[in-house]
C-alpha cells in the first residue's frame, strides 16, 4: 500500500435533517492496525462507518479509503460487517457465503472452497445445507463474520461484532480478529464492550455527539488518563480497617478507600507531588502486602470520564473524575440514555 493510512477523513460533516450526526471530523486510520471506534449509542459511529463504506455520502469534507477517493472503487478490498445483522432467511448457508464471495470478486470455484474452509474453521461445517433462518443467533453472527472476510480484504470494518455472542464465541471472534490482524490487515471495529476494545486495539477513536473525543494509540491514551493511584491489598492476616488506618497515616496519599466490589482491595489516591515509586516504597515499609500495583485507567473509566467532561448529563464542574460513586450514577444515566435507537 502506498500510503501509510488506510483511511483518511478530513473535515467530514454529515447531517440528517436537522440532526448533526458527524461534525467536522478528522481521522486517520493507520494501515495494519486494529482501531476501536467507541462512543455511546447515537454518537455517530455507524454513520462514520457507513460513510467510510460509501453507503452514505458526507455533506462536506474529504474521505479517502485505501488510497481511493471512495470505498466504491475499492469495495473488493474491504470487508464489512454491518451493525444490524442480516442474512437471507431462506437461503442456505453455503450458497449464501459463496454468493457473497462472488459478489466481492472471488472466482466461482474458489468462492465455494473458501466458504467451506471458513465454515469448518468456525465449527459450522454441518450448516452448509441449512437455511440461514435455522441457525442460532450466534451461529448467524459467525456466518456474517465469514461473509465480511471471505474475500480476504485489506480493510475489515466490523460494526459491533461482539454484541449478542456468548463468552466462548466472543473468544473465538477475538481470535479470528487477531488472526486477521497478524495477517497484516487493517481492522476497524466499533464496540460498547470496553474490555474487548482494550484487549484488541492498537488505536482508539472515540466519538461523542458527532465530535471526535479521543484519537490515538491505546497505550498513550491510557497513560494520559493516569488516575495517579495505587491498588493495595494487605496480607490476609491484617484487618482491612487497620490497613486503612495504617495507609491513611502515611503521608503521600490524598485518600484511601476500599474498592466497591472487593472491600479488601484498597484504592490509594496519590497526593500532589508524590511519585508512585515513592508511595509504593512507603506502603511496603508500613504494611505486609499481598498485592501492590499502580492503578491503571480502564478504558471504561476513560470512556465515561470523557463523556462526563463534555458537560453532558449534568455533571457538576470540579468533581473528581474518578469518584466511584459519581461514576456509578453516570453509568446508569448512560445506560438509560443509550436505549434510544441509533440513527
Amino acid at each position: 500500500m502506498s500510503s501509510t493510512n488506510a483511511i483518511t477523513i478530513k473535515g467530514v460533516t454529515k447531517t440528517f435533517g436537522t440532526k448533526v450526526a458527524v461534525s467536522n471530523l478528522d481521522l486517520q486510520i493507520p494501515t495494519g492496525k486494529v482501531t476501536g471506534f467507541i462512543g455511546p449509542n447515537g454518537a455517530g459511529k455507524t454513520t462514520t462507518i457507513r460513510m467510510i463504506m460509501s453507503i452514505i455520502f458526507p455533506d462536506s469534507g474529504e474521505l479517502s479509503v485505501l488510497g481511493k477517493q471512495s470505498a466504491v472503487e475499492s469495495k473488493d478490498r474491504i470487508g464489512y460487517l454491518p451493525e444490524e445483522r442480516g442474512l437471507y432467511r431462506k437461503m442456505k448457508v453455503g450458497p449464501f457465503l459463496t454468493y457473497i464471495a462472488k459478489l466481492k470478486g472471488v472466482d466461482g470455484s474458489a468462492a465455494e472452497q473458501k466458504a467451506r474452509a471458513w465454515l469448518e474453521r468456525v465449527g459450522l461445517k454441518e450448516t452448509w445445507k441449512k437455511k440461514c433462518e435455522e441457525l442460532s443467533k450466534g451461529m448467524q453472527q459467525k456466518v456474517q463474520f465469514i461473509s465480511s472476510v471471505i474475500h480476504e480484504p485489506d480493510l475489515i470494518i466490523l460494526d459491533e461484532p461482539f454484541s449478542g455472542l456468548d463468552p466462548v464465541n466472543r473468544r473465538l471472534l477475538r481470535e479470528l480478529i487477531d488472526e486477521q490482524h497478524r495477517a497484516g490487515r487493517t481492522i476497524i471495529f466499533s464496540t460498547h464492550a470496553m474490555f474487548e476494545a482494550e484487549a484488541l486495539c492498537d488505536q482508539i477513536f472515540m466519538i461523542h455527539q458527532g465530535q471526535k473525543m479521543l484519537d490515538g494509540q491505546l497505550a498513550d491514551i491510557i497513560a494520559q488518563f493516569d488516575p495517579r493511584a495505587l491498588v493495595v491489598e494487605a496480607s490476609p492476616e491484617i484487618e482491612t480497617s487497620s490497613a486503612i488506618a495504617t495507609l491513611t497515616r502515611l503521608s503521600g496519599f490524598e485518600r484511601v478507600r476500599p474498592d466497591r466490589d472487593r472491600p479488601t482491595v484498597l484504592e490509594c489516591t496519590l497526593a500532589e507531588g508524590v511519585t508512585s515509586q515513592d508511595a509504593m516504597r512507603r506502603v511496603l515499609d508500613a504494611l505486609p502486602v499481598r498485592r501492590l500495583e499502580r492503578k491503571r485507567a480502564a478504558l471504561e473509566d476513560i470512556f465515561i470520564d470523557v463523556i462526563l467532561s463534555t458537560g453532558q448529563n449534568g455533571s457538576p464542574g470540579g468533581m473528581n473524575r474518578f469518584d466511584p460513586e459519581h461514576r456509578e450514577k453516570l453509568k446508569l444515566e448512560l445506560a438509560t440514555a443509550g436505549s434510544e435507537p441509533n440513527s
Binding site: 463504506m53 453507503i55 470487508g79 454491518p82 444490524e84 442480516g86 431462506k90 437461503m91 465480511s148
Partner: protein, 472 residues
Amino acid sequence: MKRTFLVAWREFTSVVLTRGFLLGVLMVPVIAAISIGAIFLMRNQQAPRAVGEVAIVDRTGLLTDAIRKQFSAEGQKAEGAETTAKINQQLDKLPLDDAQKAQIKNQTAAQVENASDKSDLNVTIIQPGDLEATKEQIKNAKIKVSDTEGEARPVIALADLVPGLITPNEAGVYEGFKLFTAPKLSFEVQRRIENNISRAIVDVRIATDARVKASGMDAGALKAMLASPRAETITVSTAGETKSIGPLRMLIPMAFMALMLISVMTSGQYLMTTVVEEKSSRVMEVLLSAVSPMQLMVGKILGHMAVGLSILLVYGSLGVVGLLISAMMDLVSPLTLVLLVVYFLIAFFTIASLMAAIGSAVNEMREAQTLLTPVMMLIMLPWLLWMPIQRAPNSMFSTVLSFVPGVNPFVMVIRLGGEESIPTWQIPASIGVGLLAVVFSAWAAAKVFRIGVLMYGKPPNFKTLVKWVRMA
C-alpha cells in the same frame, strides 16, 4: 456488469427453484390439463342411471302404448341414437380435425351399441284414485342404480296426464302435464322421463289429429319438417374460407392480456417482496458493501424479468401447443407473439421499477400496501377495459388508451389479439410511448431506491417519494 448478472441470477434461482414457485406456477397448467382430460373422460361415461317404475295416470286413455314404447329397451336405444346424432352435429362445428372427430363418433356409437337390452325404467299404469297413495310411495322411494335380486323396483316418478295434452282448446293451445318425482332423483333421469313422456305425447297428437289424418301426411315427414335446420358458419377472409370458431376468437385477446398480467404481476410481486425482505432482514447493507444500489436494482429487475418471462413462456407455449393441436394456429401470427413479448417487457419494466422503488421505501410488506394501491389500480384497469376494447379495437377510446403510458402495453395486446387489424403505425408508436414510460419509471425508481434502501423508520408517503425523486 458481472455483479449485476450475479444478482440477477441469484434472484432468478431463488424464486424459480423454490417449491412454492414450481407448484404455483408450473403446476397450474398441469392441473388445468389434467382437469380438461378428466372432463373429456367423464363425458365418455354414461349418464347417471336409475332403475325404477314410472307411474302413469292416463286420463286420455290414448297414451299408454306410446309411453310404454318410449320406455322399452328399443325406445331406449333409439333415444341413444338420437342423442348421438345431436352430439355428432355439435362435434362437426368444433375445430378438430377429421380423424379426431371420427374417433369420438366411433366411441359414442359403440356406447349406443352396447347399451343394456333391458330397460331401466318400467311403466306402471295406475288409476286416478291411486294418485295420492302413489305419491306417498314416491316420497319414500330409495333410488337404486341397478336391480336387486328379489326386490321390486321402487316407484320414482308419477305423471298425471290430462286429456288437454292431446286435444287442444278452442285457441289451439295444448295443456302441460305434472310430473311428480322422488326427492333424490338425479336431474338427468328426470329429464329422460320428461322427454320420453313428451315424445310419446307428440307422437300421439300427430297420430290422432284429424287434420293430419285428413291431409294424409306421414307422421315422420311432419316431425322432420318441424326440426330446426343446422347452420354451418364459414368465415371468408383473404386467407381463404375457414370454419368460424365464434366465441374462441373472443377469448384470444383476453388470454393475451391475462397471460401478460399474470406474468407481470407475479414477477413484480416477487421483486418487491425480495427488496422488502432484504431491507427488513438487513442483508441490504452487506449487499451494498459489495455492489452499488444501481447494480443491485438493475440486477434484481433483470432477475425477476427472467422469472416473468419464464411464466410467460410456460403458459404461452402451452397456449400455442393447444392451438396447434386444435389446428387453430392461424388465429395467432408469429409477429403477434413477438409483440406480446415486447409489450410484456415494456409492462414489466414499468411496473417492476415502481415495485422495486416501493419495496425499497418501506420496512415491511404491510407498509407497502398503501403505496401499492395506485400500481394495483393501473394493473386492474385492463380487466375493466377488456370488453370495450375487444369489441371495438379501433375505436377512438381504444386508440387513445394505446398511448396512455402504463396501460398501453395491455391495451395493445388486447387489440392485437382481436380480429380487426390495427393501423401499422400505431404499433411502433405505442412501443415508443411504452419505452418512454420505462425510462421515466426506471429513472424515478433509481432515485427512490438509492435513498430508500438504507432508510429505516417511518415509511414514506407519496409526497416523500416525490421529494426523493426530485432530489439530485
